[in-house]
Amino acid sequence: MIDSEEHPYVEWIAREARRPVLTDSAARARLMAAIRAEAPRALRRRRWAGLLAPRTLMLSPLGGALLAAGLVGIGVIAGRFVHNRDVRAADGRSTTVAVTPQLPVSDTVVQFVFTAPRTTRVSLVGDFNDWDTNRTPLTYDGNVGVWTVTLPLSAGRHLYAFVVDGSWIPDPRAPLAPDGGFGHANSVKIVGGSRS
């Protein structure tokens, strides 16, 4: 609403500007033609919502045993992964069906280590767990005096940080990614390269 205190010239400009404009019906026709040509696209699911679909991974027995025995450091168990599908049985209960081992899933089991006293609380946040501070706590290894957690990561570049007693801290053992504007730098983990 025009402020009645507003200068009359300003009001005039506004009023004139509010007049309807002539539009070109040919342009409108072209627009609808372009829309019709694109018709199937409107039905497409969100292109990027698929990123958020849940995924679960299960280890084969060998992988599981190795992990439980603590023999897994930074290493590849790519060939051991088996994708399991959740299948709805006829009565609605879900059962897990082991799909025959496929080509190696490009996931690598990676161990994260952070040195801090036993009395701290340490968790891992990163682009692999939606930066959720509660999702991936580290556990203290009294023998070595470090906090660790091991988890599978997809091949490629991952950003992460440790949350230590509430503070976000980059990994002193890893390359830094520049502060993107949240006031702190993250760490970078490259998975699946020639080094790992």
Binding site: H7, P20, R41, R46
Partner: protein, 204 residues
């Protein structure tokens, strides 16, 4: 001072195509969106019909050039179509659409380089000049376009959203991502500039 006299008497003219949202419009919009998502492309034509002219008015006032405005409109309605699945019913379709429109206008304005500055002649001179054929309504509209073109784009945008689209500051803030107080300042500055302009020419 013919110009001054004219707009004093025009003060009581009712506004054209004012208003933002009526409840009926909202449910129509949502219904049409659902139809489009269900596969009815022609339902999108209904949405276009409802908003094209209003969007065109904004685009032309904002960009000052008919071709650019058409580009902005095409891009806006195409993008809106592609992004329709992201539209949430609880949001106003017009606000959602305008967000896209405002951004498109900004992109197109940014892409324009080496545009000649609009040659501005004083209104007093114009009033005495012979009428020139334009594709727009008349000389008043041309004056308005020139005056608006003089404004810094961000000021112009805020002025148009406030006084032509008649949005609330909250709506404008949601649209532009700019804070309410910053927007109020922009609108005020736009009015100041226009007023200054008037001060400059009225004594001619």
């Amino acid at each position: 001072m013919q110009t001054f006299v004219r707009f004093v008497t025009d003060r009581h003219v009712t506004r054209a195509t004012g208003g933002w949202v009526i409840a009926k419009d909202m449910s129509d919009d949502a219904a049409d969106v659902q139809r489009v998502l269900a596969g009815d492309v022609e339902a999108y034509a209904a949405l276009v019909d409802r908003y094209y002219d209003r969007c065109a008015r904004f685009a032309i006032r904002m960009l000052g050039d008919r071709d650019d405005a058409e580009d902005a409109l095409q891009a806006t309605f195409l993008r809106a179509y592609r992004a329709l699945h992201r539209y949430q019913e609880r949001d106003r379709f017009s606000a959602w659409l305008y967000r896209i429109l405002v951004n498109q206008c900004r992109s197109i304005a940014a892409r324009r380089s080496h545009r000649e500055r609009v040659f501005v002649r004083e209104e007093a001179v114009l009033l005495n000049a012979p009428a020139r054929a334009t594709s727009w309504a008349g000389e008043d509209e041309e004056i308005v376009q020139r005056v608006l073109a003089e404004l810094d784009p961000l000021l112009r945008e805020a002025f148009l959203l406030k006084y032509i689209e008649e949005m609330s500051y909250e709506e404008m803030s949601a649209l532009t991502g700019v804070g309410v107080s910053a927007l109020k300042m922009r609108v005020k500055r736009a009015c100041d500039r226009l007023r200054d302009r008037w001060e400059r020419i009225k004594d001619d």
